[in-house]
Amino acid sequence: MADDITMQVARYRPDKDREPGWQEYVVPVREEWTVLDGLNHVKNEVDPTLAYRWSCRMGICGSCGMNVNGEPRLTCATFLSDYAPGPVRVEPLAHFPVIRDLVVDLDDFMQKLPRVSPWIIRDEEQPVEDGEYLQTPEELDAYKQFSMCINCMLCYAACPVYGLEPDFIGPAAIALAERYDLDSRDQGARQRLDVLIEHEGVYGCTFVGECTRVCPKHVDPAAAIQRYKLKAAQESVKMFLLPRALRR
């Protein structure tokens, strides 16, 4: 294994720069070091001014998403040795405004997520005395995959539609809507459908499929979106065919 690798890291200081630039750091390649380890080495030993987000360093918090050699990746799950002999390019997560260095502004997603009501919606809450909502393993299986989302935003960085049309509500938001629609305890599907049937909802997606390819938790947002399109179409046809009295 090579001893060192060069990391080309994007820098952007809003008070000084008009545009992002690059700074190169030479970093040791220790066995099992990830890109995040490389960044931490830079911050601890070389350049404490470098700004970036990270937390759990084990692929569950979703904080450390960045573009590594053009691919959206969790830097804690990306090994430096895979890029030997280097250099490896580290940029802020694509399609988001850059606040500083590798830190991006996620407000757009934060504003979009609540619009799909990502929580259990009930017409009537079961009284506490009646105990828990029971769910069979099959019922859990129906939505479990979509519940694995860690909101890391790699799918938004990979989605060309989101890059070209920022109004698009995006893969993770739709996958999370599907997670709740498929949950046997939930009764809010109609409410979410009204949000996602708009042109910036599911029908903005052109099924590129990159979101699924880059997702570190195998959520398959593309599948959620296509199934949602079909669901919306089925509901629309039913509404069109049934007499007014039977429509909800």
């Binding site: 539609v161 049309e165 049937i197 029908y203 052109t206 399109k229 179409a233 629309s236 509404m239 429509r247």
Partner: protein
């Protein structure tokens, strides 16, 4: 529930996509390549003429061609809007689906002339 036209357009797009995927490979291979280039002897004129004169052929081809035109229009609309950044939603939709609508009449005319 809200009424939106998008789901219906998407259904037509999907149907047209399935039809294009299933019918175009064989039809194009025959009509555009095998027959003109003589790889397969082109069918007798009488056989083709009676085949195309049949009302069922007319219905099948009319449905297939119109669905494929809607499929192409829908896909092209997104290519214009997202890809080429022609950010005029209504105009792009009008041009694309309008083109398909106009195309449907061309289909009707050209198919009808053979019946």
């Amino acid at each position: 529930m809200k009424f939106r036209i998008e789901p219906f357009v998407w259904l037509a797009f999907s149907g047209g996509g399935v039809i294009a995927a299933m019918l175009l490979p064989v039809l194009v291979s025959l009509v555009a390549l095998a027959f003109p280039l003589g790889w397969i002897d082109p069918p007798d004129y009488e056989h083709l003429a009676s085949l195309l004169a049949h009302p069922i052929t007319f219905l099948v081809l009319f449905g297939a061609f119109v669905m494929m035109l809607i499929h192409a229009a829908h896909r092209f609309r997104y290519t214009l809007y997202d890809g080429l950044q022609v950010k005029h939603r209504t105009l792009v939709a009008a041009v694309c689906y309008g083109g398909a609508f106009f195309g449907a009449f061309v289909v009707l005319g050209l198919l009808g002339s053979a019946t």
